[in-house]
Amino acid sequence: MNRPLGTAAPLAALVLAGSLLAGCAGGSNSDEAAGDVVRITYIADLTGPGAFYGEDWAAGAEYAVDEINDAGGIGGRTLEIDVVDSASDQAAAVGAMNSAARSDSSVVMYALLSQNALAMAPVAQREEVPFIVGQSSVDGVTDVGDFVYRTSTSEGDYYGAMLRNLQEQGVESTAILYAGDNPTAVTNATERIPAIAEELGIEVTDTIEVRTADTDYSQPASRIVEGSPDAVANLTFGPAVTTSIQALRSAGYDGPLYGTSALGSGALTPAGDAAVDTYYPSAFIPAADLPWASGVAFLEEYEAATGDQPSFSTAGGHDQVAFLAAALESIGEGEVTRNSLKDALAVVAADGFVGATGDPIRFGEDRIADTPGVLVRWDGTTETVAPGQQGPLLDGYTGNDG
């Protein structure tokens, strides 16, 4: 029996036609030169689950663009930034990347969600548009090719120094509480941290898996307390951070906690005093005693300009643009094309540039940045530089000031 098509068929045809037209639309190519204005498409998670951080990343990038333009631009050019909301959605993020690749933007930036960055990077490489990713910490984002860079260090590279710091405070044993449904947490809990602990002679008393959606942590907390560890690694996310810390304190654990940068940017605020003595690595915190001068300078300038304190996300967004700015400096008055920009980024990646998260920030062969990092101690209300830091957290980092 034939069914009436109704409105579905014309609608589908319209969508198809729209897609084809969009696909045929002329856009920029990798040898097309920018004029007096270098355009950046900044794809940001302004709404949805990533919004809390995404807004700061975009704000940091916009601040850096204003800063550069106010200083007269670079090589006679000004920057223009077009912030596009990905809604924290992978399909929307890839769609925005496709649109940006077809536009006259010279470079695309994105900050946050690993699954989105992983899907966007191959598009950038295929379309030959420089793509500067901020924080996405999953491996493989930059593996797709030489158009893709990441301006943050792999966080696990900081863990050695973090555990050494705790050991210097007298920690001889640790338990590990981790979200078993998060691949990065699984790797850290079952491979990276135990390996570092073994190397340092720190005993792992217990490794307990929980689920991110769990709400009641009294049972794992009691089990951890039975092992009497000197420190507890908390590799959970979202509301689990607060509820698991509260459960540990209620169960009688009063020692230090440590974990990933997921504990930063306000994640510990709901836990309040229960989270005092929680340590985690970060690329930046708004502290006047940050161990590198360029970070302190950024903090002061940003506060003076906006009246707000920058978060590590704001600093990260700033440094994505700072990386681009250094590449444009390298090009000077030469032609700015996507290809020339890619080559200039490679030069800067090797030589280094000054950013809020380090001085210098250089990149490894994997096109992932090396930044010094700071060990943070939560004091119940604010993030502070942990006492006893000797040099950068990143092993092997050599900076002018770190």
Binding site: P49, F52, D216, Q219, G238, P239, Q246, A267
Partner: protein, 297 residues
Amino acid sequence: MLQQLVNAGALGSIYTLFALGLTLSWGIVNILNLAHGAIFTAGTVVAYLLTRDLDGLPLPVVVLAAAAVCALISMLIEALVFEQIRKRSRNELDTEMRTLIASVAAAAMLVTVAAVVSHHQPYALPGSLMERVTWEVGPVRITNVQVVVLVSALVLAAALTLFVQRSKYGRALRAIAFDRTAAGLSGVSARSLQLAAMGLSGALAGTAGVLLAVYLGAADAHMGDAYLLKAFAIIILAGVGSLGGTVAFAYVLAVVETLVGYWAGADLRDAVAFGLIIVVLLVRPQGFTARGGWQRA
């Protein structure tokens, strides 16, 4: 082991608090309201906003405010959505399916509002709402929050059971669940009673939300989802409509989860808990304590 049983007691109380409202709407008045978890979340949001903007509010005031707002939300959903669906549906099956989908939509809307209000971040109620006190009894640690949650769950469960079984309104509620038309003919206003029942169910969800947020130390917009699944499990194990069974199996599930989690880890814990449900569905699909419609509660 004793400590784990104390932990299980607190967890079972939370399950009880959450499941009571759902039992009332689903088990007693036959409205399968999947927005119950979202209304529970709304209770935490109301408490968060109140305590953020007004210092020094006592816990009972916050609980009452959250319960009132959640009762209102629940009644609005009943009046503006479920009642309209009943009027427009051709038969019982039609009503149930449409109500189910509408409740999913209502839940999504409420959760979205909660997520936007909280900026997709966890939020905590101030510690001053209930300062934590810990007592050490031999090898066991018990907090005042655990005691409050336990007592609240048992008192509310007893009160609800008495209300449904002994009061005139409770009997009328069971009458409309058994045969809405016949109850209507005998002078029972099904519409008003269902509205009141949904309001009470919402109030219970709001109360559970606030107490849970105090107990856990934080909440987030999606927290209700996990409890909704557990509440379904408990109600199926108990048998739909059995208030006493719901309370009993809330604690049974909590003990099983706690002990399995302790000995075998988080993965096996959920597998065992939900495996139990499959076994019950196969062996005793009516649950362990279910009775006929007119005998419910």
